[in-house]
Symmetry: C2
């Protein structure tokens, strides 16, 4: 089993892959999120695992935009608990650290910590990539924010643990592949739709779910890009698309929307 993820070996996304598929899985690092999608589409890997949402920073916009245009289906979700550590070169003197490299989301999640220490935050494309760069270029006056697993993998030392500003920090990932999952009785479904720009259109769309007591777990709006300030709605709800009440709700929504795409149904994950 080969599963693609975004980032270098040691990235949080790779941890999510291992949490879902087990230690035996072959993880395939990809430079960016479009490459994760295209690797699954071309059959070079069996699945991809992509971040959609963090409990502090919110949605990962690029993933939502790629889900819109891909032909892939969602077959699973993963909640990964995130703990950030400050990592440095083993020869670095912690008192001489001035700059901290990491992915902008990780920097944002440690904003208060970085301010309190007077470190300058420097954005990079990847948490694990920042750690790897510090080792490869033997940087001694800067640190990286990444996981303890990353530190072990590349040989950095951990200066401080759990430096995130908020205690409960989770990222939710989706598993993407050729098809979605069979009903288990405890499922979720992800859809995308757009609506005519008339008063009450969103209200009337949500009626299809509310009247059938279908619980929405997430609603996200994304710009359509081609028509300024019109939106696609990304909605997750409880239930499988093969359940009677869900089929009825989707049929009703189809009649009210200008676009509807079902990304798939999959077993609901537990938060760790």
């Amino acid at each position: 089993m080969r599963v693609a993820f975004q980032g270098e070996k040691g990235a949080y996304s790779e941890e999510a892959v291992i949490q879902f598929f087990g230690e035996e899985v072959e993880t395939v690092p990809c430079r960016d999120l479009p490459t994760v999608f295209s690797s699954v589409e071309s059959g070079r890997v069996d699945y991809g695992v992509v971040p959609v949402e963090n409990s502090i920073e919110g949605s990962v916009n690029e993933t939502y935009d790629l889900l819109l245009t891909t032909g892939l289906k969602v077959s699973g979700e993963i909640y990964l608990e995130i703990h950030h550590s400050l990592l440095a070169h083993p020869e670095a003197d912690p008192r001489k650290i001035r700059r901290v490299y990491s992915h902008p989301q990780a920097l944002a999640q440690c904003r208060v910590y970085l301010l309190s220490r007077g470190y300058e935050a420097v954005p990079s494309y990847d948490t694990a990539g920042a750690a790897k760069m510090i080792m490869e270029e033997r940087v001694l006056d800067a640190a990286a924010i990444a996981s303890e697993r990353t530190a072990k993998l590349y040989g950095l030392k951990v200066i401080e643990r759990n430096i995130e500003d908020y205690g409960r920090n989770y990222t939710r990932f989706l598993v993407i592949g050729d098809k979605d999952a069979e009903p288990t009785g405890n499922d979720k479904t992800s859809i995308i739709f757009s609506l005519p720009h008339t008063p009450g259109s969103l209200y009337h769309a949500l009626e299809e779910f509310a009247s059938r007591m279908i619980n929405l777990t997430k609603i996200e709006s994304r710009p359509t890009k081609h028509r300024p300030f019109e939106y696609y709605f990304f909605v997750d709800f409880e239930g499988h698309r093969l359940e009677e009440r869900v089929r009825e709700a989707l049929e009703g929504l189809l009649g009210k929307s200008t676009f509807l795409k079902v990304l798939g149904s999959y077993p609901k994950a537990a938060m760790p």
Copy 2:
């Protein structure tokens, strides 16, 4: 009149300030968005202008989070049309450019262009700041993505114009200050609310607007941060908070929400 914005002189946000307040305004650059908010709160400036949404990239999460915690009111909105240019040092040979520096949103908006030219995208905190750095450090093998106005201000040359991937690229800004605006008959109102986590709660909240034919122009969800995967809803709608039907809708919403904050009412801006 002193108005704070995020970024260096020459930033798109400064253009928005000038578009709204006129050429005579004194613009006050701020390192980051929290500093814009705190400058207005402390009375060091009269207003702040902050980006909330781009027609390609979507919402500016940090602004939404700051609107939640601030005591400031929204008194206006601005639509700025964005055109990106590739800028280089006047002595640079365009054929030798390898890297392109800019704010991650600007890099994302020119993704296809950068790929087609084989440039490496390097994130920085600010479009104008990237241009300024290229001049100050006399960088000859890299370029910046910023506006033509930035090029004039710092003396860079324009290598290529309108390099954005999508033709119609607008950013929407809000004007923040001590109080909101008087009714004009063509207004918008911005609010934030949260809901009990029960099936249909969002549907029933939106009923207050739909039943009164109040048109929602935007709905955005942001994580509450302290309770994973619970959300604040940021909603913009047409109408002023002093209009009868809007007062009734807000009163109804107050009874259904666990939190409600009215950011203010302000004249609706035209798109350029």
